[in-house]
Assembly symmetry: C2
């Protein structure tokens, strides 16, 4: 930029402050800066920041002391990265125009129906980074629950596909499976993908990191092999092995979802429309043609009743029909956690034990994986109707599935051993009794307090199942943490909430 | 705090950074700080900050560079003020527990009905500062539009009263009036209050600053007299003059509303439930017994149709009955701005001209003020049914209302002259024609671009009414700004959007 440009009031010099605000871009500007005064900006103003043809919108925090000179501005780390900024760069600031598509979010909140064009404008603006966090929160809330119609969910899914990359494989079927979540430890993908691929089907699995749970498939898989593949790497792995288990966030398949999640997570919000649009748009963008959706049902799972499951199944069927996807919904038991471990490394260990047919392998995780793999095999035409589960069992028991898993890991960058936590605390039963119920949501909360998913080794192992009879002092749960503070939080919470694992009279 | 406490990892030293984040408390902490590492915190974590018995909850921004030492922490200005912090103070940090009441917000978003206890917990947590901005945005969205039932609106209003201060006057009636807004320039309160008080009724009017508009009554009144009265001052003024026009935010009447507004404003969100709860809770807390509500109706007003007005009237009637308030809804024309000025000082000038019976007084503003004052006089028993408007006119024309207004201003701290803007740009008609329609919302947007309400002298004067025939070059609007940048924004927007004041063929 020229000297003349530098002298213009709306041009300021970047200073790296090193402030991580998570995904919302924030700009820091002195209240004494000429541009701030001329424009009449105040805290929360939305400001367009332009550097060499790149432009982002950031929320203003006003510096009221001497942290910045009047001709300087700071950016939060995410804003700095998106602009590709360097210390001392000159940037041009201007008033960000109101986001026109937000009027459609307002209309939706008032209960109005949106058409596909409205929804497409919203999604495009979200992907362009024009929505602030509170605007994303309003969007998410407005589309929650029963307030969205089928055609709105279809439009949302389509726009989420259209605003990102898309994979084409040149043949069919391309299969996939997905769990709508809410069941701690339900890490079946790591088992299903190699079984299905070993049977000759193509399954380009992308998965998310944890949203509201202690671990996503990507978090667990990452303790076994690299998952941070770009689109070219993902294509190479799938072309070689017929499968991958990659992190979806890196490949920009339906990237709107990754932005919405940044607010969905702290709100711990769960919307049917958003979940279905998120799942199906990712699958379609990945080039899938046939998809099995696992819907666990239980009083403390995400889907709590058969009625809720029916509503979700109808939504999945309606959206997948409109998108040209063949979808099969499989309802599963969601009354208690699956396997032993909850947390990235602990769940990975369970899955690995099943693949390796270790004597410690959790039987429930194995059964669920076989059931789902069987459905995928049937839907993809690799097993006759009713014969999928048996074909899956043979493939697992022959060692073919584990061999395929090793090959996938090598193709993704190498198989590795999941880490172990430095701090472990085993919580015993305070008295004898029978395990009456396990609260999935609060148990997931305990694993999160222990540090999962951020700390890969953190989480918990659960040593009992509903219906088990236990004696006093028998271990119920082992908490795993990477720091003493987190171990203490998790322990304290469990102590204060003994009914997370409810003991009935023996 | 002792040296031992200082050495504890969860105790850090405050450093004043001087960062204004508006109303959300933010804490800045180095990623290298022992407490951050021990607790496993990351950006967006919610953290309890305790200083000498005072405690707040703040959202974490992680300092990734050298801005703060590992044993220091910074606070945003609002957090600093709420804690009454001093440079170098020691504060203790801990993980803020999840806000339990937010699960009720989630339930509401899913379409469930909330009971009074749920709603009371939400409002108490909001007033305690436990809700983050995105949680407030979700709350506001979930209660928007048709999604709230009458009993929920009643519960919301009650809890908003219960969580703040409350005034009792020891006699009845205590009257008030309120406009649900959406009509630029509709600054009738400044005229109605002195008329009503001059007729012997008690009217302790509190009003808000602008929420989504270019000026609230408090903003306009502040250009004429101090409005920042505390509860004792407000009581003194009302006991002396029978009336006041004070800013409601200072007196902590229904303070939940003031917190919710901080997110309502940037979202530019407008929810019937929230508006009715906000208005009626403020009135009840101020000790009012009889309230007139002005509901302007027009395609670009907040209430757009007779059906919408009926829905709002039913809600107002239902909530006021439940709260024991006598409410009268007056529907008024909301098709175009009232008076000439839009913006704090410009609207104050219009109201003053009416009170002083100046030849420049806008006739429409006078008529509306007389109509509303008449309804208040009738509802409060100071005029026979049907005779209110005439009594109001006599009181205005006799000079009694202006004398009362002067006395109120003196009691509040002294009458002053509204400021004039340094930069004015008059926009002429580009051709001859007839004024077909005026878009209230976008015209309000122009006044906000010009700097209103933050810049008291900023805004615009509109020189035409719907139906007026104009010739080419005839002035349509004069833009007023306190800075050249703002004048340019407003001018540019109006140029790009000539249909804000739509010219039909003459």
């Amino acid at each position: 930029m020229s000297r003349a440009a530098h002298q213009s009031a709306d041009v300021v010099r970047l200073r790296r402050l090193g402030i991580d605000t998570y995904q919302e871009p924030v700009i820091f500007l002195s209240q004494k800066s000429p541009v701030c005064r001329a424009e009449g900006w105040s805290a929360q103003s939305r400001i367009a920041v332009e550097r060499g043809g790149m432009s982002i919108v950031a929320t203003l925090n006003v510096v009221t002391e001497t942290l910045l000179a009047p001709d300087e501005c700071g950016l939060s780390d995410v804003a700095w990265t998106r602009l590709g900024a360097n210390e001392g760069d000159l940037v041009r600031l201007s008033h960000a125009p109101p986001v026109e598509s937000f009027s459609a979010v307002r209309a939706k909140a008032y209960g109005h129906h949106l058409d596909a064009a409205d929804i497409d404008r919203i999604v495009r603006d979200i992907v362009a980074g024009l929505y602030s966090d509170i605007e994303l929160a309003a969007f998410l809330t407005a589309f929650t629950g029963a307030h969205a119609a089928l055609d709105e969910a279809v439009a949302l899914s389509r726009s989420m596909v259209d605003t990102g990359e898309r994979l084409y494989w040149g043949h069919a079927p391309i299969v996939d499976k997905h769990c709508v979540g809410g069941l701690p430890g339900n890490r079946t993908s790591i088992i299903v993908v190699p079984i299905v691929a070993a049977c000759g089907l193509t399954i380009p699995k992308t998965s998310s990191r944890a949203i509201t749970s202690p671990a996503g498939t990507a978090d667990a898989m990452e303790t076994l092999a690299p998952v941070d593949l770009d689109l070219a790497a993902m294509r190479r792995v799938v072309e070689r092995e017929g499968a991958c288990i990659a992190w979806g966030g890196r490949v920009r398949l339906a990237p709107a979802d990754d932005i919405i999640i940044s607010v969905e997570r702290p709100l711990d919000f769960y919307s049917h429309t958003q979940v279905v649009a998120s799942v199906l748009s990712k699958k379609l963008a990945a080039g899938s043609t046939h998809v099995v959706i696992d819907v666990p049902i239980g009083p403390t799972a995400k889907v709590r009743s058969d009625e809720e499951a029916t509503a979700m199944e109808e939504l999945i069927r309606g959206v997948s029909d409109a998108l040209g996807l063949a979808a099969r919904v499989v309802r599963t038991d969601g009354t208690q956690p699956v396997g032993r471990g909850i947390g990235p490394a602990l769940e990975a260990r369970d899955a690995l034990a099943v693949l390796q047919q270790a004597s410690t392998a959790p039987a429930d995780l194995r059964q669920r994986a076989l059931l789902l793999a069987g459905h995928v095999l049937e839907l993809g035409g690799a097993a006759p109707s009713g014969g999928g589960c048996e074909r899956a069992r043979q493939t697992l028991d022959s060692g073919a599935a584990f061999a395929k898993f090793e090959a996938i890991c090598v193709a993704q960058g190498g198989l590795r051993t999941p880490p172990r936590a430095a701090f472990v605390n085993t919580v015993p039963a305070t008295r004898a009794g029978r395990i009456g119920a396990i609260d999935n949501r609060r148990l997931a909360g305990v694993a999160k307090l222990a540090g999962a998913p951020r700390a890969a080794a953190a989480g918990l192992e659960i040593h009992v199942k509903v219906g088990d009879v236990v004696i006093a002092e028998q271990p119920l749960v082992s908490l795993h943490a990477e720091s003493p503070g987190e171990l203490e939080y998790a322990s304290r919470y469990l102590q204060a909430n003994p009914d997370v694992i409810a003991l009935a009279e023996g």
